[in-house]
């Protein structure tokens, strides 16, 4: 029965997205913009995040953090709250800068896009607003199945002059909803660096946007270089209420950690 269902899904995919109907470059950029737009909230964003990294032969890294975002001014704060020994550490993104704060030494440091958040395989972009259309130029690869999901596969190349963590990216987009289901990040050499899955999305009505906004409920990142290392991010308690202006400053994070 399941085989029949899979066959039917394949046929449906083939009918819906025939190989000849390769989208134009503009249409692909529009697809990316849709992916970005569905996640973009014109107001603020707040969530409690669970972050776990399992690495072969090592103890697990586990964190709980609060994430605050203001997408219209590209600001992001990640404040670790648990475990107690890590509480008070935090990241602050202002424009293209990512600063990290450690209350045990009371110091800020500027980090790059490739900063591994809390020493895990996640990076800033995993918590931040999606900017795929601005950061990458897309190319169509094909239609395929991901588990039971008919998906559209795109290959993205970083736009010149844009600082991104990975220069080449492949995306698997759910054909039914347009949500991102799978992402693979590559080095310039073509080496696969990590695979990320987005198995579930949360739909929240945004009063400021006056429409629905989508957030990944869970992100699973598999390190393809250090095999056996994987990171799980779970978003909980998502809120879209306005946040104070002072929240996106060094002073706020320092005060929170004091």
């Amino acid at each position: 029965m399941s085989r029949l269902l899979a066959l039917a899904a394949l046929l449906l995919a083939a009918v819906s997205f025939p190989a000849a109907a390769q989208p134009s470059a503009d249409a692909l950029v529009a697809r990316l913009r849709t992916v970005d737009e569905r996640q973009r909230n014109s107001g603020d964003f707040q969530a409690r995040v669970y972050l776990e990294q399992n690495e072969k032969g090592k103890a697990d890294l586990v964190y709980e953090a609060e994430v605050y975002r203001r997408d219209d001014s590209d600001k992001l704060v990640i404040l670790f709250t648990r475990p107690q020994a890590e509480a008070g550490k935090g990241y602050l993104r202002i424009d293209a800068n990512l600063f990290v704060y450690d209350p045990t030494v009371g110091r800020w440091e500027r980090r790059t896009e490739r900063e591994r958040i809390g020493g895990t395989s996640s990076n800033r972009a995993d918590f931040d607003e999606s900017r795929l259309a601005d950061e990458y130029a897309p190319a169509f690869v094909g239609n395929e199945m991901l588990g039971r999901f008919p998906v559209e596969r795109l290959r993205l190349t970083a736009r010149p002059g844009v600082d991104v963590a990975y220069p080449v990216v492949e995306l698997w987009l759910d054909q039914a909803t347009g949500n991102l289901l799978k992402r693979q990040d590559f080095a310039l050499s073509g080496r696969l660096l990590r695979t990320t899955y987005y198995p579930q999305w949360i739909k929240v009505f945004s009063p400021s946007k006056q429409s629905d906004v989508y957030y990944p409920k869970e992100i699973r990142i598999f390190d393809e270089v250090e095999k056996g290392t994987n990171t799980t991010i779970v978003f909980q308690e998502v809120k879209l209420d306005p946040l104070q202006d002072s929240l996106f400053t060094k002073a706020w994070l320092e005060a929170k950690s004091r």
Binding site: R48, Y50, E52, Q53, N54, A59, L61, V62, E64, E66, P83, Q84, A85, E86, A87, G88, K89, I94, D95, A96, N97, P103, T104, V105, R107, W108, E109, R110, G118, G119, G147, R148, F149, G161, D174, A176, T177, N179, L181, K182, T195, Y197, P199, Q200, W201, I202, K203, Y214, E218, F222, N230, T232, V234, Q236, E237, K239, T249, K250, K256, S257
Partner: protein, 685 residues
């Protein structure tokens, strides 16, 4: 004929034969002489090197033995032998008990707790440092300091703008450069600083997020830290001495870095360039002929802003005037003057070096980390969490005689509390907390190979879900604990140095120490200094093997030549031997004649060789063998090796040569003894 007469006769015949067969004697004697010299000198060098290295390592870091966990994943290596952060030696299960057990043994002086970890000092750029100071000055309301920093930041912005304008001319799309130039011009505008006074956070955020990234990249210093009880370390390692600054006060967090590291890694790049050129010129190299030195000059010119940006505005004119004294005809602003000043050649180098250290060095931060600075060390714990600790740099140190040894300069010393903060072993309570967090979220493990089936095998309609009815995030501040690890012996200790009492009559071996610890089942292993030193210890073994293989090859060749020569000698003297046999000489006597002859040759050659070897060693001892490469400084335990020779070494050399000679001669001697008397009466062919 008495026994004594027979011996006297044998000796007389041996001596007679040595002189009667001069060519053979010279050949065999020469080979044995050469072999003896080799054994005596080589043995002396090897023994001296081994003793020097033992002194170097045991009196600087390892002690006579090291103790660490029996179940350690990796072998302990006090000197780096792999990639940064790769060594995992576990923890000594109960250091307190280990120490008690060992110090109770007669002959053990002390047990010094240690731990090794790799840390990073992330240094921002000069711009970052100025902005940190500006934030502090603004927060503290120190307007004079703000004014001074304003001038410095405007000065830097002006320099960066000049650089960007040059880049802009070559850029196909200068929009990025235009935006950056606009930011830099804003910093140079007094209105910006007036706004900053009114709204400091906005102004500072602009400087930190828009201007700071335009500076050059910051430098990361990698430190291999030995965390230890610094007082006990100093008391037990007599080669240790403070060079700059002071020792770390007991109970205070403190760092000491090696003098060599401080001079080569921490010093201002331009000053270091001057030092490098000076050192090379003193070694006979010239700027005119050495392309590497010419590149050093060019690099110094390129790096001039590392000096320029540090010169205070109220001192800039004085510096300019002092530089112009040695640059007649030069003109322009301080940047232009400095550029000309740094273009040194053989004729002006010494003067400019002197001017640099007189006029510029006192006015800049000569070292990126100054003695007395509080610096932030960063590391990753064994479980992967990032850790940081603030620590005061109290000074620099060196191990006497090893000042130039790079390998001993890579280990820096930090107090045990700071070490334990960075090492961050996790308590049972902390582990339980992690389990609690994990349980509260309820995330299932998903294997990589099954991820797609597990995550996307369900109903596609369930992809999008509504938010769960969850409690709103609370706005209560996070709570955390700042555990201060103990400084005592009760905290984690990874390894420990066992220092033996040189005055004690007890000669404890590693197995003695191990047996005592095993008797109390303390779960640790003991290794000698050679094994604990890792690569350096293996170097001694390699040197030993090389010398003895060399000696073995020489002696095998020597034995073959001696054997062949003796064989020819026997053949030549077959009638003489036959005659001796015909007049009643026993075979044993014939063997005796030949062996005594060989022994006389071996003894004479051995004594002569030992004498010459002794003279050579004495000469080398007086002159010293210079350590021409940095690794040799460590091997020689100083800038030169002064080999010594013991009486035992001399006697061993002579005896070894004698044995080799007799063994080589034995087979031809037996052949001679078998000569029949009839041979003596046979006519010569």
């Amino acid at each position: 004929m008495t026994r004594l007469d027979r011996i006297a006769l044998l000796l007389w015949m041996g001596v007679r034969n040595v002189f009667a067969h001069k060519v053979k004697s010279l050949l065999v004697g020469g080979i044995l002489f050469f072999g003896t010299v080799l054994i005596v000198v080589g043995g002396s060098l090897l023994g001296s090197v081994q003793a020097s290295m033992e002194r170097s390592v045991t009196s600087s870091l390892s002690g006579h033995a090291q103790v660490y966990a029996k179940d350690a994943k990796d072998a302990l290596s006090l000197f780096p032998s792999g990639p940064m952060g790769s060594m995992d030696v576990g923890e000594i299960p109960d250091f307190h008990a280990v120490r008690e057990t060992l110090v109770a043994m007669p002959g053990v002086l002390d047990v010094v707790p240690m731990g090794i970890l790799d840390a990073i000092v992330l240094q921002g750029t000069e711009l970052d440092r100025l902005l940190d100071r500006l934030r502090d000055a603004v927060a503290g309301g120190r307007s004079d300091e703000v004014s001074l920093l304003t001038w410095e930041l405007q000065n830097i912005a002006s320099g960066l703008e000049r650089d960007l304008l040059a880049v802009r001319t070559a850029s196909a799309d200068p929009s990025k450069e235009d935006a950056e130039i606009a930011d830099l011009r804003r910093v140079q505008d007094p209105a910006f600083w007036a706004d900053l006074a009114a709204d400091p956070e906005s102004g500072l955020t602009f400087l930190e997020s828009r201007v700071a990234p335009l500076g050059s990249d910051g430098k990361a210093l990698y430190l291999r830290l030995i965390g230890t009880d610094l007082s006990r370390f100093e008391a037990n390692f007599d080669r240790f001495r403070i060079v700059d600054g002071s020792r770390v006060p007991a109970g205070s967090p403190g760092l000491l870095v090696t003098k060599r590291f401080y001079e080569t890694q921490v010093k201002n790049a331009v000053a270091r360039g001057f030092d490098t050129i000076r050192e090379a010129r003193r070694a006979g190299r010239t700027l005119a002929e050495d392309p590497l030195l010419q590149e050093e000059v060019r690099r110094n010119v390129r790096q001039r802003r590392r000096v320029l940006y540090q010169i205070r505005p109220d001192e800039a004119e004085a510096v300019r005037a002092e530089l112009l004294e040695v640059l007649p005809g030069a003109s322009g602003d301080l940047d232009a003057i400095l550029e000309t000043f740094l273009q040194v050649d053989d004729a002006n180098f010494e003067v400019r070096h002197e001017v640099f250290y007189r006029a510029i060095a006192p006015r800049i931060r000569l070292y990126d980390l100054a003695i007395g600075d509080t610096i932030t060390l960063r590391s990753f714990t064994r479980s992967g969490y990032a850790r940081a600790a603030n620590v005061t740099l109290y000074g620099t140190f060196e191990f006497q005689g090893l000042e130039r040894a790079d390998l001993t300069s890579v280990n820096h010393l930090v107090d045990l509390t700071t070490f334990r903060s960075l090492y961050g072993s996790m308590s049972a309570g902390q582990q339980a907390e992690l389990a609690d967090i994990r349980a509260s979220v309820g995330v299932d493990d998903v294997a990589r190979d099954e991820a797609e089936a597990a995550l996307f095998g369900g109903d596609p309609n369930d992809l999008v879900v509504a938010p769960e009815a969850e409690a709103a995030p609370t706005d209560t501040p996070p709570t955390w604990v700042r555990d201060v690890p103990p400084a005592s012996d009760d905290g984690p200790v990874l390894n420990a140095a066992v220092v033996l009492d040189p005055g004690s009559s007890e000669r404890l071996s590693v197995s003695d120490l191990q047996a005592e610890l095993d008797a109390r089942d303390l779960g640790v292993q003991v290794v000698d200094w050679k094994r604990a030193a890792g690569l350096i210890g293996q170097l001694v073994t390699v040197l030993q093997v090389v010398l003895w293989v060399g000696v073995a090859i020489v002696f095998i060749v020597a034995m073959a030549i001696v054997n062949n020569t003796m064989m020819m000698s026997v053949m030549e003297r077959v009638q003489e031997v036959g005659t001796l046999r015909a007049i009643g000489t026993q075979r044993r006597a014939v063997v005796g004649i030949f062996l005594v002859e060989t022994a006389i040759l071996g003894l004479v050659a051995g004594v002569a060789g030992a004498g010459v070897g002794l003279a050579l060693v004495a000469g080398l001892h007086a002159v010293g063998i210079p350590a021409v490469a940095d690794i040799l400084v460590l091997v020689f335990a100083g800038p030169s090796l002064h080999p010594t020779l013991s009486l035992a070494g001399l006697v061993e050399g002579i005896l070894l040569v004698l044995v080799v000679a007799l063994v080589s001669a034995f087979q031809p001697t037996l052949l001679a003894a078998r000569t029949s008397p009839a041979v003596a009466m046979s006519p010569k062919e």
